[in-house]
Symmetry: none
């Protein structure tokens, strides 16, 4: 598997270390990125994290604006300027900076959440609320999509 999927809650130890879930670790290894690239999520109290695939996405985002465009600089500052590459210890653990922890409201435990090409790190309770909300929205949207195209997916209406 070359994608980040599923979610799990892990605890920080007394030194502030937390294990990256083994399945995420293996994706990162395959991705070939040394360390963990991360930054505060733009519109959520969470940390965005990943490897080369995430970097590529950001590059693409920035490349949409011509060089020296004001927006381009703003994206660069916001994304590159606030990002950091955490190093991973021999046991697959990282320590989040104060910056990242306070942005996400993290204290003693975190939820790792796979999003395909990247993953997010949340304060567990906030994540549960976020997930419930997102799931509700998706249910509504798929129902609507389902009624538009009868033949395609078998999302099993009843």
């Amino acid at each position: 598997m070359d994608r980040f999927v599923s979610n799990s809650v892990l605890r920080l130890d007394a030194k502030g270390r937390v294990s990256i879930p083994a399945s995420f670790r293996s994706v990162l290894t395959r991705d070939g990125f040394a360390g963990l690239f991360c930054y505060p999520a733009l519109d959520q109290p969470a940390v965005d994290a990943g490897g080369h695939a995430l970097l590529a996405e950001i590059e693409g985002l920035i490349a949409r604006f011509p060089p020296y465009a004001v927006e381009r600089e703003e994206f660069q500052v916001t994304l590159y300027g606030r990002s950091e590459t955490l190093n991973v210890d021999g046991e697959g653990r990282v320590v989040l900076s104060e910056e990242l922890k306070s942005h996400a409201g993290i204290t003693d435990a975190v939820a790792f959440v796979g999003l395909g090409h990247k993953f997010q790190i949340w304060e567990p309770q906030r994540f549960r609320a976020h997930l419930a909300q997102a799931t509700a929205t998706v249910r509504k949207l798929t129902k609507r999509l389902g009624s538009e195209r009868p033949a395609s997916d078998d999302g099993a209406r009843e």
Copy 2:
């Protein structure tokens, strides 16, 4: 055969393991996916499961939305964030996570239900109810279709 068809009920052992039906296993092997990709079904108390074909379906759903759109993120959390790739042991068994089991109400046995490109995992009794109800709906629909067009296939499964 490269599709998941028919259904069968199997029991979980003391360690929570359950064999994937042999016919499904051979489809998965042909599909080439290592492990079993699955997630809680959006609008049913069941688990959706499969391999690359199912992943492709999810990708398609997400690709409908432009990058960085709010809806896209919501789909990613709901689908990637809640899905997991279970690994299959040498005997063709998987263990469902607590998350998946509680979503489907599974305790000590499951019904595997082929749906073509994917299959579902149900609590056996719930599945029987669901099947009865779905069959009734299909009968009505085929009757209506039958009166429109002379050549119909028979809707009499079960």
